[in-house]
């Protein structure tokens, strides 16, 4: 799969831009702050419905404009798909596929498959559990787009349930009608267990399939030094192993919710469920967080992304690979190895400020980006 043509209107620093990309590697070179990352960020957003840099949509719209538009022509198995997305902060996005409007913008997610690797990904290894959950869920959705709905429903149930718990908590503190509200908690528990089990089963199955690819990618990036190991962690599961069986997981979540009921009403928030889980990353016998060196952490993060790309390739479609400001962070050996690993991909978009940081092996298109203009030079 590859992006043939990308047109942006009022996305980040780009008021208007129209770029045609070749298959294989494309290297975008230009001075700091001239919009290289902005350009590839739009491709990532189109694929996943989220930016790799910010949580909200407001920064994605050019300062002073009301909405941003991303249009892409995507080549896939000899066909061309047209994906259009209008980002309107504060309102729902609007999406079109092959010019027909989609009922919801999230139906566009997963049409274009892309995997982004950027300096921010160091936080997959060093950051909070949320980053790792997000990585799993985004890959899950790229793999099976129906999970976009599962996750949205699950998050909605958690919000509803938290509101109920908080209202009851406040009511009790002020001597009001705490318990009349709480009698619908059983209903929300049921739905939380169902949607939660669905999401959880998806994550666990994903992890099983993903692990070997991450091991392989880490091996290649680090030239055989160290073995990564990933374990799903759910504090509510009392250290009992989880298997990706939906009915079983529903029952276990329901039981955990029942057991946590007193604590949850005490605290006024949902303590059980996949929104609290984590992925423990280990290197050899030690946790990567807090133990791995800077270079090792980088290689780990890179292996997670490359492994994800390989998994998608093995199962269905080779994703567009986006390497944002990555080469500058690696030593010469790792640069060479990374280049060798990705040159076979159907499309790789690379950004860098200094052209010499990208190994010569990455031959393909070369674009100069300067002062709001994109020029293909090779």
């Amino acid at each position: 799969m590859h992006v043939r043509r990308l047109q942006l209107t009022d996305f980040r620093s780009w008021s208007q831009v129209d770029v045609t990309f070749p298959e294989g590697p494309s290297v975008l070179v230009g001075p700091n702050g001239h919009g290289k990352t902005n350009l590839v960020e739009s491709v990532g957003y189109l694929a996943t419905g989220a930016s790799h840099r910010v949580a909200g949509d407001a920064p994605l719209v050019r300062h002073g404009a009301e909405s941003a538009v991303i249009r892409a022509a995507i080549g896939h198995e000899g066909r061309e798909l047209r994906a259009d997305l209008t980002i309107q902060p504060g309102k729902s996005n609007r999406a079109r596929l092959n010019r027909s409007p989609l009922p919801r913008a999230r139906d566009l997610i997963g049409v274009l498959k892309a995997v982004v690797f950027a300096p921010e990904d160091l936080s997959l290894v060093r950051g909070e559990p949320e980053q790792r959950r997000r990585m799993l869920d985004e890959l899950l959705i790229a793999r099976h787009p129906r999970f976009a709905g599962v996750r949205a429903d699950y998050e909605r149930v958690v919000r509803q349930r938290n509101t109920l718990l908080r209202t009851a908590y406040l009511a009790r503190k002020t001597g009001g009608r705490g318990n009349t509200d709480l009698h619908t908690l059983d209903i929300w528990d049921r739905h939380l267990a169902q949607h939660g089990a669905d999401l959880l089963a998806g994550r666990l199955a994903l992890l099983e399939s993903l692990s070997p690819y991450v091991v392989k990618a880490y091996d290649a990036v680090s030239a055989g030094r160290g073995r990564p190991q990933m374990t799903y962690q759910a504090a509510w599961a009392d250290a009992e192993p989880l298997s990706p069986d939906r009915d079983l997981l529903t029952a276990r979540l329901a039981a955990a919710l029942a057991a946590a009921r007193a604590r949850e009403t005490e605290r006024g928030t949902t303590l059980v469920g996949p929104h609290r889980d984590d992925l423990l990353l280990r290197l050899g016998d030690l946790p990567a967080k807090g133990y791995a060196s800077h270079g090792e952490s980088w290689s780990y993060a890179l292996a997670l992304r490359l492994g994800a790309a390989e998994l998608l390739r093995a199962e269905a479609v080779s994703p567009v690979l986006i390497l944002d400001d990555v080469f500058a962070e690696l030593d010469t050996d790792r640069r060479e190895r990374l280049a060798a690993m990705v040159t076979h991909a159907p499309q790789v978009l690379v950004t860098c400020a200094v052209a010499e940081d990208v190994p010569a092996a990455m031959t393909g298109g070369r674009f100069d980006i300067c002062d709001g203009e994109v020029n293909r030079v090779v």
Binding site: D153, Q160, T184, I187, W188, H191
Partner: protein, 198 residues
């Protein structure tokens, strides 16, 4: 921004659902530029709708008499009751032509974020209707989203012990959707393929 009556109009319009400040301004200026006769007619229907239209005492649908057209219709059966969130959902279901029973309008769905609990919905009225004994099956046609599903579960748990069949519209309805916007073919199929949940 504006003064006096114009400012009041913009404020009032802005309070209506789905109308933001910009649309409110546009409508206000449209009204200002319209013929007096047109504006009088609009004012009249606004007043009449409030004076003459009321809610059916049986099902909660909009009505011009004590009971709505559907509750009064002797050709419809009492064995089936279709539970919906809003009167507008009745119109959507009626368009399918698949359903010849009666309705019950809840007036919303359980939604803690909006401060709506079961006691704020017409659930007690529904239970009283069911206790009267003519009903054999309750079809729950709340919206296929988180709140609609939670409401359906709640109703199923309440009604189940009464020994009545409780069914839920078959999927095929877009998840996260709104019944009102489902096209009649999809909604019609959902009726035929409804499944028992209790």
């Amino acid at each position: 921004m504006y003064e006096g009556a114009l400012a009041d109009l913009v404020d009032e319009l802005g309070r209506l659902p789905g109308i933001g400040p910009k649309s409110a301004q546009r409508i206000a200026f449209h009204v200002l530029g319209s013929d007096k006769a047109d504006v009088d007619r609009l004012a009249d229907v606004l007043r009449t709708v409030k004076e003459q239209v009321r809610f059916c005492t049986v099902c909660g649908n909009v009505a011009t008499e004590e009971q709505c057209r559907i509750c009064r219709d002797p050709r419809r059966g009492d064995e089936l009751i279709c539970v919906v969130e809003e009167p507008k959902d009745i119109i959507a279901v009626e368009r399918t032509g698949e359903f010849r029973g009666r309705y019950h309008v809840l007036g919303g769905a359980i939604n803690p974020l909006d401060g709506v609990g079961p006691d704020d919905l017409r659930i007690r009225e529904l239970m009283m209707r069911l206790q009267a004994g003519a009903t054999k099956e309750v079809i729950i046609a709340t919206d296929p989203n988180t709140e609609g599903e939670a409401t359906a579960t709640y109703l199923a748990l309440m009604i189940g012990p009464m020994g009545l069949a409780v069914s839920r519209l078959a999927s095929g309805l877009p998840v996260g959707g709104d019944l009102e916007y489902a096209d009649e073919v999809t909604l019609g199929r959902a009726f035929e393929g409804r499944r028992l949940i209790q």
